[in-house]
Amino acid sequence: MRSRALLLILGCALLLLGAVLVGPRLEGAQGQFIVWQLRVPRVLVGMGVGATLALVGAVFQALFQNPLATSDTVGTTAGATVGALFAFALDSSRTVQGLPLVTVCAFAGALAGSLLVASFASARRVHSSDILLAGIAVTLASSALASGIQYVSDSRALFAATQWSLGQLPQVGYRGVLLLAPLCTLSCGLLLLLTRPLQVFALGEDLAHSRGVNVPRLRLFALGLGSLGVAACVAWCGPIAFVGLIVPHLVRRLLGASYRTLLPMSLCVGGALLVTCDAFARLIVPGRELPVGIVTAALGAPTLVFLVARGRR
């Protein structure tokens, strides 16, 4: 098992390195600039976003005891979408403290959506299935709100919103990395500290309670920390589908369901997967970049079907 994990880490490192180097042949000062000022920060953002989405996916799947749970399930993405649409309807070229208005509004929307669900989760006697339903309710309410904003938006705002909703790693340079890194590090770092209670929780909510896990507190911390990281990612990149869903299942299949392995390896594989998909999105159509969200969705859907089919055998 350990050698398999080491192989997987090595594979992830090679994929990350490959994502920086792959592409048209680059030479001279211009080449240096493209590699160090464009590709490297983009790979770093991709690593952070992919790692956070995958880790949060693994945590939420344990937390909701549902293999289909992701950050989308608890209203984070839906809240971010409402925020982003609101910003596009206002004026997407505006900035707040040097940050794009879209990013700020999407972040605020994501946190608001998650906060609603988290406040419900903090109640003492609710079950995970109740929180899942609360997340679905927030998502539906957000969709209604988003539809309302779209109805009154002009075509320019609608086009920008559609592009945003496809999910894309932006060219944000090192400034973007520095803004994203603290939130992702805080979210992922503290979530990794919850490995032990999550392992107990994954074996059954009531059983975890009987074994000494403070269930309401665990839920609140995991939900809050996960939502914080995902809110930051969605605010920068838009919703990127399937990474949070697929990666934990992939790691579980390869290395088992011990959370001491599952969580850190989801982090590694999620980062490498998103960066690889992004490199693919850069190269697949010559002279044009596809949004990475299209690639993850195109890869994710068949992978999910494959995993389900394998799991049934």
């Binding site: 392992q199 107990v200 074996l203 009531d206 059983l207 975890a208 009987s210 000494g212 369901a257």
Partner: protein, 259 residues
């Protein structure tokens, strides 16, 4: 060792009474077998003892303190539970599953694994340590779950129909293990549908048998009480025969006429 006490306990949900002023205690080193028809409130009673369900009135005291007020890790040191249905959707190994029961101890992962190995050996389940629980049969999974209960090292143990889905041999093995833990001084409250399995405990005469029907306690008798057959018959609404085999009594429902 601690005592578990239900004091005038009632539980109501949506106007329906699940438990009605139940008062019961499980003393230090006692084994109480809880019997009753389906829907009598047996599992609800166990869940109130674990603070998984709040009483509408009355209280549950564990070592003299309200169970709801206990800090979770402290409560886990006092009381442990083997549920009726063992969830096995995560493909963790038997060893990891048992090591998770050590959560209340602030110890290293290596220490948890060593304790889990000892617990598995104690219930003769070491062969399942490296197998995924999702691949185990119902009986094997129950044994691993039992090892988890051993690993938790709590003073009071709650069992919710532990012999469900087991073949007769596995049922006997499980009740023998339960008897071992009882003789080591644990207090036990065990829901069962088969009172005859209590013979496997080793010292059945010391067992208290408690009947619960429609949320109310209807009897509390020692296992060797002469009236037990009649009490069991009344509890389940059937006629119960008492057969003697050596020094042991066996309770067998009288077959109903099919005409």
């Amino acid at each position: 060792m601690s005592e578990l006490r239900f004091v005038d306990l009632s539980v109501q949900v949506s106007g329906r009474t699940l438990l009605d002023r139940v008062s019961l205690s499980v003393g230090k080193g006692e084994l109480v077998a809880l019997l009753g028809p389906n829907g009598a409130g047996k599992t609800t009673l166990l869940k109130t003892a674990l603070a998984l369900r709040a009483p509408s009135s009355g209280s549950v005291l564990l070592a003299g303190e309200s169970v709801a007020a206990l800090e979770p890790r402290k409560r886990a040191g006092l009381i442990a539970w083997l549920p009726q249905h063992i969830r096995a959707e995560e493909p963790v190994t038997g060893l990891e599953s048992v090591a998770a029961a050590r959560y209340r101890f602030r110890e290293s992962h290596a220490d948890s694994r060593r304790a889990a190995e000892r617990a598995l050996a104690r219930v003769s389940a070491s062969q399942y340590a490296e197998r995924r629980v999702t691949e185990l049969s119902g009986g094997e999974r129950q044994r691993v779950a039992f090892a988890g209960l051993v690993a938790q090292e709590a003073e009071i143990l709650l069992f919710d129909e532990p012999a469900n889905h087991l073949d007769p041999g596995q049922q006997q093995d499980l009740y023998r293990l339960l008897g071992q833990m009882w003789r080591q001084g644990r207090s036990i409250l065990c829901i069962t549908h088969d009172v005859n399995l209590l013979h496997q405990l080793g010292d059945a005469a010391r067992v208290r048998v408690v009947g619960l029907r429609a949320g109310r306690l209807v009897f509390d008798s020692p296992f060797d009480a002469p009236a037990l057959a009649e009490q069991l018959g009344d509890l389940f609404g059937i006629e119960m025969n008492c057969l003697h085999g050596g020094e042991q009594r066996f309770f067998v429902p009288r077959s109903r006429s099919t005409s």
